[in-house]
Structure formats: C-alpha cells, structure tokens
C-alpha cells in the first residue's frame, strides 16, 4: 500500500512535468498549427543560461529569472526568424524544420558546454527532503497555469491571441496584429517550457540531452489530450505520469517508453484526434 502510494505520488509529480511541457506544445499548436519538437532543447539551453549565471557566483534567483527571460526571447526570435516562413504551409515542412532546430540546439549546447553532466542546485538547498521539493515544483506549475488561464480569459492580449489562433484572417481584418500575437504565443510557450526545464533540473544533473525523454512523453501527453485542448494536455500529462510511474515501479523501467507507445497507440486508434478533440473538418 505504502509503495502504491509512493508510486502514485511520484507519478503525479512526473505527470505535472509532462503536463507543463504538453501545455507549452499546445500553446504553440493552437496559435501556429506547428508542433515544436525543439521545445526540449530550447528549455535545455535556458537551463544552461541559469547554470552559467549561478556558477559565476550570482544568486539562484538571478539565474532563474535570466533563464525565464532568455526563454521568452529565444521563443520570440525563433518564431520570427525561422518558423514564420513555414507557417500555414505543409505539416511536413514544419515538422522537419523544428526537428532541424532540435538537432542544431542540441549540438550547439554540446559544442559550447561539452557533453558532461553538471549538477544544478535546487531552489532552497533542501536536498533529500523530497516531498518539500515536490510541493514547491507543483505549486510553481499551479501558479503558472493559473496565470496563463487569467491571461487568456480576462485580458485584452489574451483575447487577441485567442482570436488570431481561431481565425487569422478575420482577426487581421479586425485589426489584430496577428504576427505579433504569434510571436507572443511562441515566447509564452518557450517561457513555460523553460520553467519546466528549470524545475526538472533543480537538484539534478544537467547535460545537453537531459530533457529528451521529457519531450517525447510531453508530446505523448499533448497528443493524448488532443493537441487543441489545454485541459486535455494537463489531464493527458497526469494520466501518462501515473501510468508510467506504475509501469516503472511494477514491471521495469526499461519498458516505460514502450508503455507510453502502447497508451498512445491505443488512444489514437480509438480517437485519432486525441481524447478531448472536437469533431473536426479538414479543408480539402
């Protein structure tokens, strides 16, 4: 019983990480219809920014905010410079492009920081007191998600962003600067991504590939929920985290990716658009 409870708790924590990541993917998908496979390396780069600042002797929180800011900036710049030309074109172009970015960012980090592991300090230095850290991480995600909901529901910018995601042409006719909204959407997504990156890194080892498993599982979570639904992303993340945690605890950790594949296949075979998808018409 004790073990089951621990497994469930661990699974929920993991699920929150996947959920945050899936949320970042959904944010981008809703505005630009692009799945950003480069999300994980983007978060990894910003974590390294924090690491460099902290290692230079500055405070943890300075590094933390610098990382989040650089996440915002990186997202905006990438959208404006690299992604903009393929928006609205074929899916394959966009997928290949973000995969190319994945490789580029990965290799850049490898060239600059080397491939070795470096340790990353936890926010309050409470090593070993696991439950405390988890609560902090969970509260962090909760606060950010709440802020995002507030932004999208109750602010003017949020309304504009939703409008440009819903119908670009009409939004444009109504005077919304759609391009700016898309850039903002990418920046926000990169912000959420780098936050989750920082929280995963806290108290752990960091190397250029440390986010790679998260991108796969975060993506699976987003697809489970249906790429269009933020609520779906969060629920998908939690469900995935829980089930993977049980597979890892009771069957074997090597089979975790296989279990994720099985869950994904099952859901997609029954509902090709994910659990929370609306019936959709594809334009011919």
């Amino acid at each position: 019983m004790q073990q089951a409870l621990n497994t469930a708790l661990g699974g929920l924590t993991l699920g929150m990480v996947y959920a945050a990541f899936a949320l970042a993917l959904v944010l981008i998908w809703r505005s630009t219809r692009i799945v950003n496979f480069a999300q994980a390396p983007m978060a990894m780069i910003t974590t390294y920014v924090a690491l460099v600042i902290i290692d230079a002797g500055h405070s943890y929180w300075l590094g933390f905010s610098a990382a989040l800011l650089s996440g915002l900036l990186l997202g905006a710049v990438l959208e404006r410079v690299v992604i903009r030309p393929v928006e609205g074109k074929s899916h394959i172009n966009a997928v290949i492009l973000t995969l190319g970015l994945f490789i580029v960012l990965h290799a850049t980090a490898g060239v600059i920081f080397g491939n070795e592991f470096s340790s990353f300090q936890a926010p309050f230095g409470v090593r070993g007191f696991k439950v405390g850290e988890r609560t902090i991480a969970l509260t962090g995600f909760g606060v950010v998600m709440g802020l995002l909901v507030l932004l999208f529901r109750f602010t003017d910018v949020g309304l504009r962003m939703r409008a440009s995601a819903y119908n670009q042409e009409v939004a444009r006719l109504l005077g919304v600067k759609v391009g700016r909204m898309l850039t903002l959407g990418w920046a926000l997504a990169a912000f959420v991504g780098s936050l989750s990156g920082l929280l995963i890194a806290g108290g752990n080892l960091v190397h250029p590939g440390y986010m790679d498993s998260v991108v796969v599982f975060g993506f699976v979570a987003a697809v489970l929920g249906g790429l269009d639904s933020p609520v779906g992303a969060v629920i998908g993340g939690l469900v995935l985290g829980l089930s993977l945690s049980f597979v890892s605890g009771y069957v074997g950790s090597q089979l975790v990716p296989l279990a994720a594949l099985a869950i994904l296949m099952l859901v997609l075979t029954l509902r090709p658009g994910g659990l929370f998808s609306h019936a959709q018409a594809r334009r011919v």
Binding site: I96, L97, G110, N115, A222, T269
Partner: protein
C-alpha cells in the same frame, strides 16, 4: 542515326530497361570504386550503403506518400537483431541471403502493424507516434536481457566469405577481397537491389497511387483508390527497406546493440532524406553520402580550430541540423530536386527563348503584414509546373490550407 533513335525510344519507353541499365552501371561503378579504395574507406562506404538503403525507403514513404516517420531507426533495429539472432556463431551456417531475407520479412511484419496504426494518423500525430516508437524499441532489448543481450547487445559472427565470392573477386580484381571489402560489396549490392525495386515500384501503378494519396486524399478516393491500403503498403515497403538496411548495419558493425538505434539515428535518416530532396532516390543516396563523409571533415576542422574531441564531435550534427533548416527554408526540393528543377527550367527556356512566366501566386498582404498566408502551393523560386506529377517531394506539392 536510326539506331540512336531506337536506343532513345527504348530509354524513354521502357522504365524497367532503364532502371536495369542504371543498376548494372551502379554495380560496375561500385566494383571499380571498391577495388581502388583502402579497407578504411570501404568500411565507410558500407556505412553509406546502409544509411542510403534506409533513407531510400524513408524517402519513398515521406516524399511519395506524404507520411512522415521518425521511427525508421527503430525499424532498422528489428532487421539488425534478426540478423544477429540468426548469426550467433560460426557453426550456424545460415546463408547470408536467407538471413537478409528473414530480416526483411520480420521488419515487414512489424512495419505492417505500425503502418496500419499510422494510416489513421496525420502530420504531427504521426510524427509523435513514430517518435515514441523510436524511443520505445531500444527498451525492449534492455528488458529481455537473456535473449537480446541488454546494453551490450548481441555480437554478429559473419560466416566465412563464400568460395565463389572469393573466386569472383580474384577474377575481377586480381586480389582476394578482404573481409571489409566483402561486407561493403554485400551492402552495396543490397542498396542497388533495394533502389531498383523502389524505383520500379514508384514508377508503377502502386507509386502513382501513393502520389495521388499524398497530393489530394479526396480526389484519390474519388478515383477509386483505397486510402488505407495505399498508406499501409507504402509503410510496408519502406519498412522492408529499413529491415535490409538494419541487416547490413549488423554485419558491417558486427554487433546489434540498442546504442546504435537511438532517436538520433532516426533523425539522421530524416536529415539525409531532406538534404537530398524528398522523394528522390538519388537524393537519398546523396544525403547518405553527406552524412557519412561530412562528420569526419567537420570534426577535423573543429579540432584544428582548437576544440576538444567531444566538442568537435558535436560540430557534425550542428552542421547538418543547420543545413536541414536552411534547406526547408530556402530550397525545399533538396539537392537533387533543386538541380532537377534548374535543369528543367533551363530546358524550358531553351525551348521558348526567354524567361517563362512562373505560376507562383502572389502573397496576400493584409494590414501591412508581410506574413499573409500564401495560397500558392510552392515558393516562387521553385515553382515549375513542368515537373508535373513526378515533382520530387511532398514538400512543395502537398501544402493544404491548414489554417483553423
């Protein structure tokens, strides 16, 4: 003169004959090359051959049928492990041909299961499912440690080079071919056979169906094409090629281990296909050549510039990642496609004397934004309707309005 026209007519009318001729030329060329190069180069050439074989399968799937797969590395793993299980020691003298066939069949079976699931998925959903496949498959080998060898993998014991091959090698080149040369010959013959089959298939009715499904699902269905069957068959053919490539990887590395089949391998294959030009087998071969020979050049440059070895090793992926991004942004047809469209445009201009009007539609500009959605299908500089239905690559021809 009449003989020349006869040859020319045969060349343009009989696809089979043309492909056979190219295949024979390929065999001659590779024999000449392998005779001349060192053992080290032939190891590299073997690597190029198996990457090329897998990339050929992937380019047919992605370029001709419009399905993206990030899981071809995992499919190669099935081929490699089948090979390794069938070649455990010197006593098990399964002929190499049968081993490769078995590897192809096993991968084909796996590919048909994956293909049935994939046929229902689109764009990013398919990409995600195949990414999950690429990550999941190495885990199977880790879990079944007893039979699949866990992290260390299973060694592959290559049966002794058959006498007839030694004789043939001696007859052709005057020396006994070394082991690595023998492996390179086998890998290249596999590549040529695979490409021959793929080229014929994509020129046939099957290939036309794949392209029809890629370009317009509804029109294809109205024309009586079974969408699901076309998709699954494309995936199966592509998986079979990946299986053959996996078998070649196993015999040239002499090991089947999970470390060889990471997500990176799958991404590398996709990079090869995109660099060369989607849908073009020549492009796949070019891409494979780049991926084989570029890393060494770039790494050497990096060490000369004062980076340490680990950092320099990361330069190669950096370069081909960058090239991948640039290709998508600037030359969506890839190397082979761009050359081809340049050639066609040149010929077109010769015929009409003067620049022809391109049919690229202008960008709709609204509210002063430079980013209005293009309703045209291709970027203006690559638009050439003369290429018709054989335009290599879905990249420029399958864009559909996807705005919400």
């Amino acid at each position: 003169m009449t003989r020349l026209t006869l040859v020319r007519r045969l060349w343009s009318d009989s696809t089979l004959l043309r492909h056979l001729l190219v295949a024979v030329l390929g065999v001659v060329a590779i024999t000449a090359v392998l005779t001349a190069v060192s053992d080290f180069r032939s190891v590299q050439l073997a690597e190029m051959a198996y990457l090329g074989t897998a990339a050929g399968g992937l380019t047919v799937l992605t370029g001709l049928n419009g399905q993206i797969s990030l899981g071809h590395g995992a499919l190669m793993a099935f081929g490699a492990y089948t090979t390794a299980l069938l070649l455990p020691d010197l006593e098990a003298s399964t002929p190499l041909v049968l081993v490769v066939l078995a590897a192809v069949l096993v991968t084909l079976a796996v590919g048909s299961v994956v293909g049935v699931a994939a046929a229902r998925l689109h764009g990013p959903y398919l990409a995600g499912a195949t990414v999950a496949l690429a990550v999941a498959v190495p885990g199977i080998a880790l879990f079944y440690k007893q039979t699949l060898g866990g992290e260390q993998g299973i060694p592959v014991v290559l049966p002794p080079t058959p006498q007839w091959a030694l004789d043939a090698g001696y007859y052709l080149t005057g020396t006994d071919p070394s082991r690595s040369k023998f492996v390179a010959y086998v890998a290249w013959l596999t590549l040529i056979a695979t490409f021959f089959l793929l080229a014929n298939l994509s020129r046939s009715r099957v290939g036309r169906r794949w392209r029809a499904v890629r370009d317009d699902e509804v029109a294809a269905e109205l024309a009586g094409i079974n969408l699901g069957r076309a998709r699954v068959s494309a995936f199966m053919v592509s998986a079979a090629a990946a299986g053959a490539a996996g078998a070649m990887l196993a015999i040239s590395v002499r090991l089947a281990a999970p470390g060889s089949f990471t997500l990176t391998l799958s991404l590398t294959l996709l990079a090869a296909v995109v660099l060369g030009g989607l849908g073009s087998l020549t492009g796949a071969l070019l891409g494979a050549a780049l991926l084989t020979f570029l890393p060494q050049v770039v790494t050497d440059l990096g060490t000369d510039a004062g980076l340490d070895n680990i950092q320099a090793a990361e330069l190669a992926p950096l370069v081909y990642g960058l090239v991948m991004v640039l290709v998508v942004l600037l030359a969506p047809l890839g190397i082979a496609g761009t050359l081809r469209s340049l050639m066609l445009r040149h010929r077109h201009q010769d015929r009409h004397r003067g620049p022809t009007q391109t049919t690229g539609q202008t960008t709709v500009q609204t509210t002063g934004q430079t980013t209005g959605q293009t309703t045209g299908q291709t970027t203006p500089q690559t638009t050439d309707q003369a290429t018709g239905p054989d335009t290599p690559g879905a990249i420029s021809t399958t864009s559909k309005g996807t705005s919400p």
